[in-house]
Symmetry: none
DNA sequence: CATGAATGAGAGTTCATTCAT
DNA sequence: GATGAATGAACTCTCATTCAT
């Protein structure tokens, strides 16, 4: 594929992303994408054979863009601050209403559940979350900011809780207050209060 | 509708339950249900106007049947044992592969998210879980089996974690080992070890 | 059929009349009638085998009820007055919006066009109109109130004009002003002005 | 849509016209049109979204084709001759059995009664008829061929009468003799007999 | 007589997918 | 590569009509 093709793909992904954010995964049709992109029906098939293919590309782009905004800040801050940053990021994702691919991703992986991390971006995301969080906790323990006998286990536990809030937000709603209380509860179990 | 009608409804719900467990919510068509029930196309419409209506009835039946298998046992057992029972029940649900309505319920409530507990059976289930768990914890604290400064908050935190494992099981898979470790981690934070 | 049956038929006709007035003939289903009458599906079929059968009975009842409200008044009034009464009756029918069976009757006879007056109530109505009108005109000529060389032909011409306004009212709308002007035009061609 | 599309549309309209002439408007289904055109189910929907859309296009084509066959002849003929031509045209329409869209048009506008002339082709037709007729009468009066104090009113009256015969022809039948007598009656009221 | 559950035909509509140009 | 017309399968939903009770 030439450069032109790449540009077209970019266009498709951009528009498709909006659609998936709006309608989830299952309700999106090839027609939806064609209409949104002002591309020809046949044209789309030159690049993608199904909505699943489009979605995977959209999701991949999403991950690539997410990057670790945290990595940059380490060093200047206390680990408590960094943990707070991390949790705030999670909170934002939990409460995000517009432009979220969460539902689409759930719908996609419900019927398409590869367990290998490399084929399952949700899993990738979770595993990366656990890893980052574990490092934060370990370092915090080293610096005697946190009390946490088993940082790995704690990290995983926290990430499952985040996941639980994420899905709850999309199925039954969750208030910002509840999320805050939950985050405080978690922090309360870790941070060593100075007296 | 007479008694006969009720029987027919029962048949429909039974068959429909299997279908929803197998295909989730969104992929199920009225035709799927018709075929499974050996009923006529128009016949189904006498009872239900849409797959959503059928599903809500299926889900309601599910909830009704779940009943508190725990309530019966209180008294004879230590609170630790009761908590263990509760968590085992959760574990069973998390790992259940066949006949689970979890995915269907998520799919349904993704696009149909009433926040009132009475209209949202997922929320009902979660709220009930929190309530039961909080009571267990409180009583455990009273009996000095548990250490838990804020049972309500702990209960909610645990339920979100369960929810996180439930959705993770359906989207990226989760091993029994992981679930066990997670439950142990939770227990470890609560139970006062006798020495 | 016993008396009870007759009562039931009356009920059906009454409700059905409303429906035909509202929806015309072609859009009415047996189900519509069943629902409106709070009768059983099978029950309706005991009396009528199709909407056409119901409609013909409704229409017959309509004709029976119309009776000549004019006949009674002859004698006391001038023929001009009587003609005016007749035309006013027509005007009312032309402009009538609610409870009119006009559209239903047109729809029915479009696809079911018996030419014998006895089988075609629209034709019956028109023929009766022509006859009555012709008599009025003849008597008016006798009394030297009207100028009208050929009362029969004039009567038929007027009735066609009425029919034209009736159908126009239902397909393109007609204002009261237009009807009035039309009636005046007709009168102007008949009545001998006294000086 | 390219040229080919236009051809397809032409084909559809041609076939659809026959169907509407045969079955009226309400009984025609998209499937009827599909079958007649040897086109696929989905294919028709590329061009028209409903039978109403098809019908309006058919009717518009009809109007476009009708054109003023009268305009061409003015000048050479006496106004009596022109009036006769006009009425003969009307007679042809009234008595036409095959290929008439009259019933379909009535059925369509019964349930879809826009009063603006531009949205209602029946009204357009009637208004145009009145206008043409009024001009004929005026010119006839100028040339002292006709006696007619109010040509506009006369024109409208005549057109309502035509409409009345048209609908009567379709609902109760009308004989050619009756139409002729009616036209003669109208002419008799206008033309000044030379002695 | 009367009921109303049940059937199955048929209409509307939407899309994934193909293919000639 | 790119187009968009065309196909046909699939789904939703509604009724006329029947028939066991």
């Amino acid at each position: 594929m030439g450069e032109k093709s790449e540009q077209k793909k970019e266009l498709i992904l951009e528009k498709a992303r909006e659609i998936f954010a709006q309608k989830g995964f299952k309700d999106v049709t090839m027609k939806d994408i064609v209409d949104a992109c002002e591309i020809s029906r046949g044209g789309l098939y030159l690049y993608y054979g199904s909505t699943a293919e489009v979605f995977l590309d959209v999701l991949q782009g999403e991950m690539d863009r997410e990057e670790d905004s945290i990595g940059k800040n380490v060093g200047k801050l206390t680990m408590s601050d960094i943990l707070l940053l991390f949790l705030k990021e999670q909170k934002k994702e939990i409460l995000r209403k517009k432009n979220s691919l969460t539902i689409a991703a759930y719908e996609y992986y419900f019927e398409n559940k590869p367990q290998k991390s490399k084929d399952n971006l949700l899993k990738t995301q979770m595993d990366m979350g656990i890893e980052v969080l574990a490092k934060i906790l370990e370092e915090g323990v080293n610096r005697e900011e946190f009390y946490c006998p088993d940082p790995k286990a704690a990290a995983r536990n926290i990430m499952f809780t985040m996941e639980g809030m994420k899905v709850s937000a999309k199925t039954m709603g969750i208030s910002e207050k509840t999320v805050d209380e939950e985050l405080l509860y978690i922090l309360g179990g870790l941070v060593i209060e100075e007296d």
